[in-house]
Amino acid sequence: MLSVTDLHVSYGAINALSGISFTIEQGAIVTLIGGNGAGKTTTLRTISGLLRAKTGTVTFLGEDISATAAHQIVARGLCHVPEGRMVFSNLSVDENLAMGAYLQTDAARNARNRDYVFTIFPRLKERLRQTAGTLSGGVQQMLAIGRALMGNPKFLMLDEPSLGIAPRLISTIFEKIVEINRERGITILLVEQNANLALEVSSYAFALETGRIVMHGDSKKLRADPQLKAAYLGG
C-alpha cells in the first residue's frame, strides 16, 4: 500500500534520514520505534508531504507522491495525526471535525464518519461546542484522531499518540486505534516512543536509530529479541 525507497532527508546540513526503505501492506498496523532524534517524526512528515526528501521516493497506492503537495496527499486518503496533536486550539470540537472533512464533499458519508467518530470517542460528542484548546491532552488526542478520520482515510499515520496523556487514557486510545484498524480496514503506521505498547498492538515493526532502520520484523518476535529489549524496552 505504501512503500518508501531509500529516503534521505536533511535539515540544512544535518541528515535526519540516511536512506530508509520499507513497505507497508494493506490492513496492517505497523510501528516505527526508536529514541528521540531517531527520525520517526521526520519519516512521517516526509510521507505526508510536510517535508521534502533530498532523494528517494514515497509510493502510495502505486503512485509516486514524493513531489505531491501535502493537501493533495490528504485527498488521496493518506491522513497524518501529527505529534503534539495540533488540534486547532481556538476552534470548537465541532469545527475541528468539520475541518477534518475539508476535502470531503459527500455529505452522507461525512455524517457516517462523524457518527463513527462519536461511537469510538463519545466524549467528543459531549464536548462538541467546547474550544479544542481547553480539552485535556487525552481528549485532544481523540479529537486529532477523529479529525483525521473525517478525512475518510485509507491509511492513517499516528505520531506519538501516547505523548503527554494521562496513563488511563493511553490504553483507551490504543484500544481505539486497533478498533479503527479492524472495523474500518484502515492501514495504520504508528510512531511511538513507548515501544512496549507499540509492539503489543502492531503486527510488524521497524526500529530506527539516527536515521537508519537498524532492525525490523514481526512485532511478537521483536518483543522477545534481547538486543531490542536492551535498547528500547528497558532490559
Partner: protein, 296 residues
C-alpha cells in the same frame, strides 16, 4: 453634552474607516505573521477606482454610490490578491524580515506609480451618494457620516459571518492557528492566504471610498497617514484578532476626534503614536489579544 455626542459621532465615523483598514492588516498578520505595509496603498487605489468609476455613474444616487463602492472593493480585492501572488508568495518560507521589506517596496511602488498614472496633485472626489444634512436638536448628522457607519457596520457583520460561519472562513482561522495542521486536513494554504488578501483588500477598498466621501481630496500619498493609524488600531486591538481590529479602529478614531476638537488639536496625529508606544510598553498583546510566546 450635545457637543460631546457630536464629537462621538464624528469619531465613530472616522473610527469605522480605521477599523475597515485595520481588519486587513490583522487578517494578513493572522495567516502570514507579517505586516502588509502595502495595505495602506491598496486603500488609496480604492479611492482612485472610486474617483474614476464615479465618472461613469450619475452623481448623488444610491445605486451609483453602491456601484462605485462595489467596483472599488472588487478592484482592490484583485489588486491585493495580485500583490500576494506576485510579491509575497515567492518569498514563502523565507525570513519575515525579507517579506516585510518587500511589503515596503510594494508600498512605494504603488505610491509612486500612483503619481505617474494619477498625477501628484490632489483631486476632488465626486459626491457619489445623495448628500443631505440631518438635524437632531443641536446634533448635525450628514448622510455621508451615516453611510460610513452603516456601510462599515454591514461589512464588519458580513466579515464576522464569513470568518465564523463559512467553510473558507473556518479554514482561515485554522491556517492562522496552525498552518501545518491545516495542510494535514487538506487545506491548500495558498488558496486561503489569497482569499484572505482578497477579503482584507476589499475592506480597504470600501474604506478608501468612505474616507474620500468625508475627506474628498485624494492623492497618491493619501494612504500613508490613515494606513499608519489603522496599523496602530490593529496593534491596539491585538494584532491577529479580528474583533480587536474593529474595536481598536473605533477607539482610535474617537480619541483622535476628541483630541482634535480640544485645545490640544495639533497633537491629534501624535496621540495615535503615543497610544502605540503605550500599548507596546504595557500591553504588547493589545486589548483583546492573548500574550503568546513564539514557539518553533
Amino acid at each position: 453634552m450635545s457637543e460631546f455626542l457630536q464629537q462621538l459621532l464624528n469619531g465613530l465615523s472616522l473610527g469605522a474607516i480605521y477599523a475597515l483598514i485595520a481588519l486587513g492588516y490583522t487578517m494578513v498578520y493572522g495567516v502570514l505573521r507579517f505586516i502588509n505595509f502595502a495595505h495602506a496603498d491598496v486603500f488609496m487605489v480604492g479611492s482612485f477606482i472610486g474617483y474614476y468609476a464615479g465618472k461613469l455613474v450619475p452623481e448623488g444616487t444610491l445605486w451609483g454610490g453602491f456601484s462605485v463602492l462595489l467596483a472599488a472593493m472588487l478592484g482592490c480585492a484583485l489588486l491585493g490578491m495580485s500583490i500576494e501572488r506576485l510579491a509575497y508568495r515567492p518569498l514563502r518560507g523565507s525570513p519575515t524580515l525579507n517579506v516585510l521589506i518587500t511589503a515596503i517596496g510594494v508600498s512605494l511602488l504603488l505610491e509612486y506609480s500612483g503619481q505617474v498614472f494619477f498625477g501628484a496633485a490632489p483631486r476632488t472626489f465626486p459626491p457619489i451618494f445623495p448628500s443631505q444634512n440631518f438635524q437632531f436638536g443641536s446634533l448635525t448628522l450628514s448622510s455621508n457620516q451615516i453611510a460610513v457607519i452603516v456601510v462599515a457596520a454591514l461589512l464588519m457583520l458580513a466579515l464576522q459571518f464569513i470568518v465564523h460561519r463559512t467553510k473558507i472562513g473556518t479554514a482561515m482561522r485554522a491556517v492562522s492557528l496552525n498552518p501545518r495542521a491545516a495542510q494535514l486536513v487538506g487545506i491548500n494554504n495558498d488558496v486561503v492566504i489569497s482569499f484572505t488578501f482578497g477579503l482584507g483588500s476589499a475592506l480597504a477598498g470600501a474604506g478608501g471610498i468612505l474616507y474620500a466621501m468625508n475627506y474628498p481630496s485624494i492623492d497618491p500619498l493619501m494612504g500613508v497617514m490613515p494606513g499608519l493609524k489603522a496599523f496602530v488600531a490593529a496593534i491596539l486591538g491585538g494584532i491577529g484578532n479580528i474583533r480587536g481590529a474593529a474595536l481598536g479602529g473605533l477607539l482610535l478614531g474617537t480619541v483622535e476626534t476628541f483630541v482634535s476638537g480640544s485645545q490640544w488639536s495639533t497633537y491629534k496625529d501624535a496621540i495615535a503614536f503615543g497610544i502605540l508606544i503605550i500599548i507596546l510598553l504595557f500591553r504588547p498583546a493589545g486589548l483583546l489579544g492573548k500574550f503568546t510566546v513564539e514557539k518553533v
